[in-house]
């Protein structure tokens, strides 16, 4: 069975640009969460979506937004990129809001 998939694997952008990251959950999972992991730290929660609705939001600026599609896949958008946005962006899926999360391999974003 396929696990959580994310695209792209790596991405290089310059300051001020916009980026869209994509995530496909495990088949049957209805919840997707996004995390930012800066080198040397644990993941920081950005958003959780369940049944296409936002159900949780971390302490990130409005430049970060996300959505979940009818097939439960998700996109994370970041506008006006800053150098500090360089990180590994992780997507996790779960059956619903209260089940354990399974992570994808991440998208490595570098902002120059």
């Amino acid at each position: 069975d396929a696990g959580v998939t994310q695209s792209p694997t790596h991405l290089i952008k310059t300051r001020g640009q916009h980026v869209t990251l994509r995530c496909s959950p495990i088949s049957g999972h209805k919840s997707v969460s996004w995390y930012q992991q800066v080198l040397g730290q644990g993941p920081q929660f950005i958003f959780q979506y369940y049944e296409k609705e936002e159900r949780g939001r971390g302490n990130f600026p409005d430049r970060f937004s996300a959505r979940q599609f009818p097939n439960y896949s998700s996109e994370l958008n970041v506008n006006a990129l800053l150098l500090g946005d360089s990180a590994l962006y992780l997507c996790a899926s779960s059956l619903d809001l209260y089940n354990e999360q399974f992570f994808g391999p991440g998208t490595r974003l570098t902002v120059l």
């Binding site: 730290q41 644990g42 993941p43 949780g56 209260y98 354990e100 992570f103 994808g104 991440g106």
Partner: protein, 113 residues
């Protein structure tokens, strides 16, 4: 601000030694997960503990959830080089239709052959 503090941050031990990693918070969690992460990859789920006082074993790994559901520990017996990695605990906070995970600061373990 909810925080999960892990200790130690770094640990370098010889193959065959035992070790314990701690995860502490002032928050009460509905569940707690332990993950292991390799460089450049996503965290891989090791275990979920839900009930206060719960103990789970996964081969040489023993996980315990504190009675008050605020803390947890991971004990590895006879560590092997393959145990090397970043160990993360994550607590689940939720209720009333909203939910989020708080990740610990991580423990970077290196087991020397």
């Amino acid at each position: 601000t909810q925080l999960l503090e892990q200790s130690p941050q770094f640990l370098s031990i010889q193959e065959g030694e035992n070790l314990t990693v701690y995860c502490n918070s002032s928050s009460v969690f509905s569940s707690l997960q332990w993950y292991r992460q390799e460089p450049g990859e996503g965290p891989v789920l090791l275990v979920t503990v839900v009930t206060g006082g719960e103990v789970k074993k996964l081969k040489r790994l023993t996980f315990q959830f504190g009675d008050a559901r605020k803390d947890s520990s991971l004990h590895i017996t006879a560590a092997q080089p393959g145990d090397t990695g970043l160990y993360l605990c994550a607590g689940a906070l939720g209720g009333s239709g909203t939910y989020k995970y708080i990740f610990g600061t991580g423990t970077r373990l290196k087991v020397l052959a």
